[in-house]
């Protein structure tokens, strides 16, 4: 075997070994015999990146459980006011909530109406408080000014922040605002740019003029605490044509969530109901049957491949196995939840690999039957015409990367991300695993 191929084979074994170690759950290795004393473990690693405190930790102890397989949380919401046609209003709200959660990037959720209630089910790892706000936030905005400005002291900030009774409503509402935009100021502090309509901006600067050196409360979604409570400075009035920037300590996500509530207001207001945990819909049983089904179908197709292509068929199955292991390892590292998306990704990967193998092996077989030696047939298939195997895989990979950029919504993005990984594994199969193993194990007479 020439050095180049030997290097490739060693690389494949390394990739396979590392991928297997990543996939494995923690398994204790204990021996207490006269020959060997061992107290160790293999798999389920937690790898810390960086030496500083708070550095990122890659947790490989278990696959993240997604919709259907892992436990879910369930939140229910009721209409604040009971009306004749509750279901119709709840259905409208359900569509709005679906869009809010999708755009906010919540993965694997489901929203439906049941027993006069709006039900939201989501995986355990999603933030419950955030989802509660995204669902129940009415999207209403109101600017408030102090009832008794003479009592304002900076040191009493918390008192005014906590007590909604300290404030009077103004006429600046959600219809006066276009959006809240997150940005980072020149000093590196986060700030929010409030984009007003022309009329809204006029009203806002009139309010500022009345409240110089006093705070203004910007309340969102009828919450009891202001979303923002900036103290108005006189310098703001120097450029009344500009939309104001307000300092804030919120992360970008909170501002974007606030924007979502405000841009997609609820049709009728909702109030928090109950919180409960749900058993997995599909559960581990499903995983077991899925694995059996995939193994049985792979065996059926694999037997056909071995009958038709003999040892070459076996090599394609071996390469497929390596690609599947690599796909699972990449999924675990990148935190793709073990759920519908991954199940679908695996189905696609196995199917696409068998399809690709069939095309490539048929080509090799045709060339060999025309009297070409194995190495020429190999070069013709893997070096020349790639239009039926490699190029579609590359096209799919690029398509999924582009789709990931242009699409929105957590579930959609997660599915497309999984598909990108699937096609990446397919490319590695087509470009590396399969050709290398075919060359090394394919035929001795070259």
């Amino acid at each position: 075997m020439r050095g180049k191929w030997l290097f490739k084979v060693i690389l494949i074994s390394l990739i396979f070994s590392i991928s297997t170690l990543i996939i494995l759950p923690e398994m204790p290795l204990i021996s207490n015999s006269s020959m060997l004393k061992l107290d160790s473990k293999i798999g389920g690693y937690k790898i810390k990146l960086g030496k500083k405190e708070g550095s990122k930790e890659v947790d490989l102890s278990a696959f993240k459980m997604g919709w259907g397989i892992g436990e879910n949380k369930k939140l229910t919401f009721k209409l604040k006011e009971d009306i004749d046609d509750n279901d119709k209003d709840l259905e409208k709200n359900a569509n709005i909530v679906k869009n809010r959660l999708s755009v906010a990037g919540i993965s694997d959720f489901s929203v439906y109406v049941e027993d006069d209630q709006l039900v939201v089910v989501f995986p355990e790892y999603e933030n419950e408080g955030r989802i509660g706000n995204l669902v129940a936030g009415s999207g209403k905005v109101i600017f408030r000014k102090l009832k008794e400005p003479e009592n304002w002291k900076v040191e009493d900030f918390a008192k005014f922040y906590m007590d909604v009774n300290q404030w009077d409503d103004t006429d600046i509402r959600e219809s006066d605002i276009r959006s809240f935009e997150y940005s980072v100021g020149q000093t590196g502090n986060s700030q929010i740019n409030i984009l007003f309509t022309n009329e809204g901006r006029e009203k806002f600067y009139d309010l500022v003029a009345e409240n110089v050196n006093l705070p203004i409360g910007i309340y969102l979604s009828d919450f009891n605490y202001p979303f923002l409570m900036p103290v108005m400075s006189e310098t703001l009035l120097t450029r009344r044509d500009l939309d104001p920037f307000v300092g804030s300590s919120y992360p970008r996500q909170t501002v974007e969530d606030a924007n979502l509530q405000f841009k997609m207001p609820l049709d009728t207001e909702l109030s928090y109901g109950e919180k409960s945990s749900l058993e997995p819909v599909l559960g581990y049983d499903f995983l077991k049957s899925f694995l059996i089904a995939v193994t049985v179908s792979s065996l059926l197709i694999g037997i056909f491949m071995i009958i038709k292509f003999k040892s070459h068929g076996f090599i394609s199955i071996m390469s497929m196995f390596y690609s599947v292991v690599l796909f699972l390892a990449l999924s675990k590292i990148l935190g793709i939840p073990l759920g519908l998306q991954m199940v679908f990704g695996l189905l696609m990967l196995v199917g696409a690999i068998y399809f690709s193998s069939y095309i490539l092996l048929s080509d090799i077989k045709n060339n060999i039957s025309q009297g070409k030696p194995f190495d020429l047939a190999f070069n013709h298939t893997f070096g020349g015409d790639k239009e039926r195997s490699f190029i579609p895989a590359l096209a799919l990979f690029i398509i999924f990367i582009v789709s990931y950029v242009v699409m929105s919504g957590g579930t959609t993005k997660m599915l497309i991300f999984t598909m990108s990984l699937t096609t990446l594994s397919l490319i590695i199969f087509n470009l590396f695993f399969f050709p290398t193993l075919m060359w090394v194990l394919g035929d001795k007479e070259k």
């Binding site: 869009n99 489901s110 995939v294 792979s298 398509i399």
Partner: protein, 182 residues
Amino acid sequence: MMIFLLPFFEYIKIVLVFVICTVLFLYSMARDKVTKKYFKQISLCSLIIYFVNILLYVLLFFVFRKFLYISSDNFELIPFVFLLVLGLLEVFIIVTSYKEIILRSKKKEDLKNVCSKVRKSTKTSLIWLLIVFLIPLLCLLILGNGKLEVLLILLLSSLISVSISSFIIFPILLKRIENSLR
């Protein structure tokens, strides 16, 4: 109103990405003078395949929707992505055979003979494309303890639309290219 149309736009977006990228890839594949001449016809063929696939799938989806309760958004999106992926593979199979016919006919080979050979090999590839996905889906339907039935049926309906377009549209398109080469 725009909010309710949002999911619909999302589907349009992904279809556009698939179609545009496919046409760009086909253009990059048709670099030589001979196939470049037929690029319009080839891209039109790929558009027809995508269009017929989506149309058939939408019809089947609404038929199945009457009988099945589709509870999760995933159940709508996954089969649609599956359909687009199958459509892309189908396009590449058909376009490669187109190219082969064009190139071999320009080498003065007997057109009838070339077409029948290519038709046969393309049919085998298309059948194989359907089989490699059909067998796992059927196994999952039988061995999956009745779970995910809805999703599996929708995935099978994607396969049905692709098989219809493969075995009805492909011979028609092949006939057209045969006529145009004569």
